[in-house]
Amino acid sequence: MTSLILRTMVRLLLPLLLMFSVFLLLRGHNEPGGGFVGGLMAATGFALFSIAFGSETARRILRIDPLALIGVGLSLALLTGLITLGLNQPFLTGIWFKFPLGSFGKLELGTPLLFDLGVYLTVWGVTLTIVFALEEVK
């Protein structure tokens, strides 16, 4: 599929979609968004890209094998749970840290964000695995 319009658009869209996916991941705890939809968004960007430029190019700019993304994502989610076990609390208890930021209010970071990052990576990896595999069937 070598449509000039698609190629030009995708080149612009991919960074935007990726940034938006991270934005969705980060805001998820308080506003609509989250790891699942973020991961889908990131995958959509690459799916579009691979339709326009072929899966080989898409794999090259992704640099990481989508299968590895799945592994990292799942392990991250699992490890988040294990951290709390180490602190003698039930599996997957959220642990929060507050950083005061002066006049900007305060920044709250917690293990659920790590967990959500795991979800993000897994969803991203699974979707891309399927998209690439389908594309590479000869």
Binding site: L24, G28, H29, N30, E31, P32, G33, G34, G35, F36, V37, L40, M41, A43, T44, A47, L48, I51, L67, I70, G73, L74, A77, L78, G81, N88, F91, L92, G94, W96, E108, G110, P112, L113, F115, D116, G118, V119, T122, V123, G125, V126, T127, T129, I130, V131, A133, L134, E135, E136, V137, K138
Partner: protein
């Protein structure tokens, strides 16, 4: 410290492959450091036990289910733990000589130490469920170790058999544990042991007892489950020594001894445990007669020994339990030695056939020494440790009656025969069949001498000075088993009394049997000595495979449309059945107060659904489905679920992309199904849609449990620091569900990947070749 003792073994297990990569042939010596250290640590605990200090600790696991990580090290636990760690160290050293550089020893040590840690877990667990977990882990590691030489089919079959027998016994036992926990009101072993009275009078007592006995009997190879143990000799000899002689098979004995305080004392216990034990003791010795393989001899005599241990527990008197503890240790020492020696013989002479072996004392003096000491101990020659143990066993049986003492004598007699056959004959007597030695036989390396020498030496030392054990381990083990303080005085020599005369008689008859061994063997070869459920096991396994094959062929036919129909019809049937039983229910109040754009979306969804079914091209159908999906997502948006809507939009887009990618490879669209089938599909679709509509209406009018949404609304910010309730539920309140979901997702992704890539490989040049070969092979 106790928790470290259990956990450290698992740690070492996972480090073992790396250590082996660096230490190579010396790995055994390095790896043995931990078990040696553990043995010393357990020994330091003994003085404290005498003064009533029992190390115990408990971590919470799940309070609601009564689960704890509770460990407790009383005398009974330590008696077993010392065997596990002590023999573990010697076996670890031995194995590096046994395997040399021929086998993947990293994997071997991994499972060996995994087993050691699990077994320590079994004996130290103070919680029934925790004990069960470790119990199953020992079965698992036994499976991996029996099947260590995985390229041999017999090894794999034996591994599966051991796993199925002990594993299913374990499941039955779990049911017994759960019942016992309910009767006693606690899963803590130490607390349960104080409730013997209330358990033995409970109407479910017999059920609990039988269930737990099945677990213990399968693990400890009691009749009629004994058949797996001789087959398990397919394992490398270090494994047979450690798991299938010295430790794992004694887990059942441990469990019975541990629970005798709460389950024992009834006449059913006496006859079931004592009777089965006695039967196993005699049958094990009897079945050994037709053997010629040293290892199988030892396997049957191990069955026999396990039988005597179980019989002693069944008798249950103080003397009997004393005999049990002594015999447990004595058997661990002498049987461990004999197994190790057998491995060394096999290693050097490349045969284990007792008829082909003889006069080895010249070439293998160290192993000859260890073997002789062990055999004399096994035969119960005075001044050896086995003699002390047997004296107490006789005394216990003697007190119960003539019937039991005669059983004990027959069992011991058969073991005298085996002891001479295995431990004496290959070294000190000429071989029956002259075989030309393929190479000059010489002594095994030091790593393979140290085990037999230490264990054999202990068999003599502890026989001369049994009070070393009596004061410490035996008295504290008895204190734990009987639940009251016990003072034990052991002596090597009790003077000439009835028991001693019976011992002499046993020894004499046993040696007599040994003298006529060649005639016995000729008789045994004519009448094949086989008895057990081996055949039943094989038949039921075959049946299971046939059944699995049949149902797979029937259900997994490979037609996507029939899979879909099966799933949909099943869902409809179950849902309709549920609705029918519910009796309809009331329809909720339906409001017709709708906005024009809601109506517009509804019309679009319905129209695009029709489009999808009527479309003449795939792309059209998929696009129409996408439109329907976007419509549904818009409804989510309108009714205040932006998260859901956003996800749905993305999913719909991606689905279209995936469909398009898949269609690229399909042949052109064509109508192939006849009208009749299409009508059937229409019918199924209508029924499903209609039922779902009714279901949604009815379900929205039913409220069985109070709704949990207010909880999430109230607690989302204070408890989970988030204002987006949907996401807070996903990553925090129901995080475990999400973890499960992404795991499923990952597996689905891997499945798609495997399916598609596998086809790719078949089509590449190399794949084509192998595919052709497969096809050719099929033709022949």
């Amino acid at each position: 410290m106790l928790i470290v003792a259990v956990i450290s073994g698992f740690g070492l297990a996972f480090l073992a492959p790396t250590i082996c990569r660096f230490a190579k042939q010396k790995s055994g010596w390095w790896l043995a450091i931990l078990p040696v250290f553990l043995t010393l640590y357990f020994l330091t605990l003994l003085p404290g036990l005498a003064s009533g200090q029992i190390p115990a600790l408990s971590y919470e696991w799940s309070k609601e289910l009564g689960l704890t990580f509770a460990f407790r090290a009383d005398g009974l636990s330590l008696a077993f733990a010392l065997l596990v760690s002590g023999i573990g160290a010697l076996v670890a050293i031995y194995a590096s000589g046994y395997f040399g550089n021929k086998a993947p020893i990293g994997r071997f040590y991994l499972w060996l130490f995994f087993f050691m840690a699990s077994m320590l877990g079994v004996v130290f667990s103070d919680n029934l469920i925790l004990l069960f977990v470790f119990w199953e882990l020992t079965s698992l590691s036994s499976f991996m170790l029996i099947g260590f030489e995985q390229e041999r089919e017999e090894a794999r079959a034996a591994a599966i058999q051991a796993l199925l027998v002990t594993g299913s016994g374990g499941l039955v036992m779990l049911a017994g544990f759960v019942l016992l926990g309910q009767i006693g009101g606690t899963l803590e072993l130490s607390a349960l042991l104080l409730k013997g009275e209330s358990v033995s009078t409970h109407p479910l007592y017999l059920a609990v007892l039988i269930l737990i006995l099945i677990g213990a009997f399968t693990k400890s190879a009691q009749v009629p489950f004994h058949f797996w143990l001789p087959n398990a000799m397919q394992a490398p000899t270090p494994v047979s020594t450690y798991l299938h002689a010295a430790t794992m098979v004694k887990a059942g004995v441990y469990l019975l001894a541990r629970l005798s305080l709460v389950l024992g004392g009834s006449s059913f216990w006496f006859w079931a445990v004592g009777g089965i034990g006695a039967l196993t003791m005699i049958l094990g010795g009897y079945l050994a007669f037709s053997q010629t393989d040293l290892k199988r001899y030892l396997a049957y005599s191990t069955i026999s020994a396990l039988g005597s241990l179980v019989m002693a527990i069944g008798i249950g008197s103080e003397t009997a339990l004393k005999a049990m503890v002594l015999f447990l240790l004595a058997h661990g020492l002498y049987k461990g030695t004999l197994f190790l020696v057998t491995g060394a013989i096999d290693h050097e002479c490349k045969t284990r056939d007792v008829r082909e072996l003889g006069g080895l004392w010249r070439s293998m003096p160290y192993n000859a020494a260890g073997s002789t000491l062990a055999a004399l101990s096994m035969a119960g020659v005075p001044l050896f440790f086995g003699f002390v143990a047997k004296e107490y066993l006789y005394e216990a049986a003697y007190k119960v009656g003539a019937f039991w003492i005669s059983l004990a004598i027959i069992g011991a007699l058969l073991n005298v025969f085996i002891a001479f056959r295995v431990g004496i004959e290959p070294f000190w007597l000429p071989s029956q069949i002259e075989v030309k030695p393929s190479k000059h036989v010489h002594e095994a390396p030091w790593s393979m001498r140290i085990g037999p020498l230490i264990l054999g030496g202990l068999s003599l030392l502890l026989g001369l000075f049994p009070q070393i054990l009596g004061r410490s381990i035996v008295s504290s083990a008895l204190t734990a088993a009987l639940g009251r303080p016990v003072e034990v005085k052991l002596a090597a020599w009790h003077g000439v009394n009835d028991i001693f005369l019976l011992s002499l008689l046993t020894l004499g008859l046993g040696v007599g049997l040994f003298a006529v061994r060649q005639d016995l063997q000729r008789i045994a070869e004519k009448v094949s000595l086989r008895w057990g459920l081996d055949g039943l096991y094989k038949r039921s396994l075959d049946f299971l495979f046939t059944l699995a094959g049949f149902q797979t062929r029937t259900l997994q036919h490979g037609y996507l449309r029939y899979y879909l129909i099966t799933i949909i019809v099943a869902v409809v049937a179950i849902t309709a059945g549920g609705l029918w039983r519910w009796g309809g229910g009331t329809l909720p109040y339906l409001s017709w107060d709708i906005y024009f754009y809601e109506l517009g979306i509804a019309v679009i969804i319905v129209l695009s659904a029709f489009m999808a079914t009527l479309s003449r091209s795939r792309l059209g159908a998929v696009a129409a489905l996408g439109v329907a999906g976007y419509g549904v997502a818009s409804i989510y948006l309108l009714f205040g679920a932006p998260d859901l809507a956003m996800t749905q939009f993305l999913i719909e887009s991606l689905t279209v992309v995936l469909f398009v990618l898949a269609f690229y490879h399909l042949p052109n669209f064509a109508q192939l199904t006849p009208k009749r089938e299409r009508l059937r599909d229409v019918f199924i679709a209508l029924i499903t849609g209609g039922l779902m509509t009714i279901f949604v209406f009815v379900a929205s009018g039913i409220q069985i449990h109070p709704t949990i949404s207010p909880f999430f609304v109230e607690n989302s910010l204070p408890l989970a620091h988030g204002r987006n309730i949907v996401n807070v539920i996903l990553v925090d309140f129901r995080g475990l569900d999400t973890l499960g979901e992404i795991t499923v997702l990952a597996i689905a992704g891997l499945g798609v990947f495997a399916l598609l890539k596998l086809r790719l490989d078949l089509r590449t040049a190399k794949g084509k070749k192998s595919a052709e070969e497969i096809a050719k092979g099929g033709d022949q």
